[in-house]
């Protein structure tokens, strides 16, 4: 076995984006060291030095290489390391997986989560939109356990927020948008994702995640109110 440069990941606990990077590493079987940022303190020099453009986590450090942006990291991990493929091999299937990851990123996430956090009249609109978009994504499971088929892959990684985070946000806000009876496939997917053996090291501890969101509840609500005013 050739000795490979060390892999480190700058993250912070509770970040669904940092989780995506961890999930890619876990699924690929790449050992890594987690460097946790403390959100209560100002951003570390290490983070600012390695992600001067966006100043955000996750940041992957692989030897002297730096990779930023969670989905870019996922593709890098898939290509730079040996291990089970995260993306399909067929070019069309790859395009479809990337399309739905982009859909989650740019279309689904905001209204879906706003439907949980927003209070009052505006909530209904977000819920309607969120549910319509969720149905489109759910259809991509196509009777499989995971978006990637038998085992989780790139699109499961991209969708991970709809698993552990969704469950905790539902509890903290008291709002459930994706109801079991109406979205059985997605709800089952979320359970399968959270209990997947390969992902075990990077699934956040639920109690800890719950405490984190409970503690920051007012901050999220305020952020959402500010976004609505724009």
């Amino acid at each position: 076995m050739s000795s490979s440069p060390a892999v480190k990941l700058i993250a912070f606990f509770g970040s669904p984006y940092a989780h995506r990077a961890e999930a890619a590493l876990c699924l690929k079987g790449v050992p890594y060291e987690l460097l946790l940022e403390d959100l209560l303190r100002t951003k570390s020099d290490l983070l600012l030095q390695h992600n001067p453009v966006h100043k955000k986590v996750p940041v992957l450090l692989h030897g002297d290489r730096t990779v930023c942006e969670s989905l870019v990291i996922a593709e890098y991990v898939d290509e730079a390391f040996d291990g089970p493929p995260l993306l399909p091999t067929d070019p069309y299937d790859r395009a479809v997986a990337r399309f739905w990851a982009d859909f989650i990123e740019n279309k689904l996430t905001k209204p879906f989560f706003m439907a949980h956090w927003v209070e009052g009249e505006a909530r209904e609109g977000f819920e309607k939109e969120g549910l319509e978009l969720l149905a489109l994504l759910e259809a991509q499971l196509k009777g499989n356990k995971f978006f990637g088929g038998d085992r989780p892959g790139y699109l499961d990684i991209a969708a991970s927020m709809l698993g552990p985070w969704r469950s905790v946000v539902e509890e903290v806000t008291g709002v459930t948008v994706a109801k079991e009876e109406e979205h059985p496939s997605l709800c089952q997917w979320a359970r399968d994702y959270s209990s997947n053996e390969a992902l075990r090291p990077c699934i956040p501890d639920r109690d800890r995640l719950l405490a984190y969101f409970t503690k920051n509840k007012e901050m999220y609500r305020a952020g959402v109110r500010a976004m609505l005013q724009q």
Partner: protein
């Protein structure tokens, strides 16, 4: 299947920089295709069937199967037609170089077009803010380019394809922001010239004055002075 036709078809809109990314990629790979101009005010059955989720151009149809989202289309073109007639790949072979190319393409997607839209649409304080952001974006790209010939280094590649169409918009940004891209970002302008020397770019970009005319037309339609 969205359409039954064999071969490549591109559903597009003449001035769209996103569509132009696809045209450049197809040209770089030497791939023949049928260009189908779309009326965005009256969307065709084919477009709505091919991209029911977003209802937007560009859409690439390959033997009737649709691929949507410009950067996804460019990657698809690169992967589905590898090394044809010795034409080089758009994405480099090295995973790290690929990651860097994807990062900069993503950066442009996240930042450039929306900021540009705010720059020509808005007035007063909001326009000044957009101007400030645009300068920051362009300077960041200038910095990323450094002394390289292209974003990928020696070879024209994915990041260059992603960013080149926006060079036709520099004039529009300049006139609305009252700045000179050449003064602020000389390396970026030199890079734009080098891109423009490539046939794939030269024949697929809208001339800058035409982009400006188009935006002036849009402003009239929106009732903006």
């Amino acid at each position: 299947m969205a359409g039954e036709k064999k071969g490549l078809q591109l559903l597009d809109f003449w001035v769209s920089p996103f569509g132009q990314r696809c045209r450049i990629a197809l040209s770089e790979k030497g791939l023949p295709y049928e260009y189908l101009e779309q009326d965005l005010g009256n969307k065709s059955e084919l477009l709505l069937r091919s991209n029911p989720v977003h209802k937007k151009i560009p859409v690439l149809l390959h033997d009737g199967r649709p691929v949507c989202e410009s950067l996804i289309i460019v990657q698809y073109i690169d992967e589905a037609f590898p090394g044809k007639d010795g034409k080089p790949a758009l994405l480099p072979a090295d995973p790290y170089a690929r990651a860097q190319a994807r990062f900069w393409a993503d950066y442009v997607d996240k930042k450039l077009y929306d900021c540009g839209t705010r720059l020509w649409k808005l007035k007063g304080e909001a326009q000044q803010q957009a101007r400030k952001e645009m300068l920051e974006i362009l300077r960041t790209l200038d910095g990323a380019l450094g002394d390289g010939k292209f974003f990928g280094g020696e070879a024209f590649g994915f990041a260059d394809v992603a960013i080149a169409p926006f060079t036709a918009w520099f004039l529009t940004y300049e006139r609305h922001g009252e700045f000179s891209v050449e003064e602020e970002c000389p390396r970026l302008v030199a890079w734009a010239k080098r891109c423009g020397e490539r046939e794939s770019v030269a024949k697929n970009l809208t001339p800058p004055e035409k982009v400006y005319e188009f935006i002036c037309g849009m402003k009239k339609r929106f009732g903006i002075e």
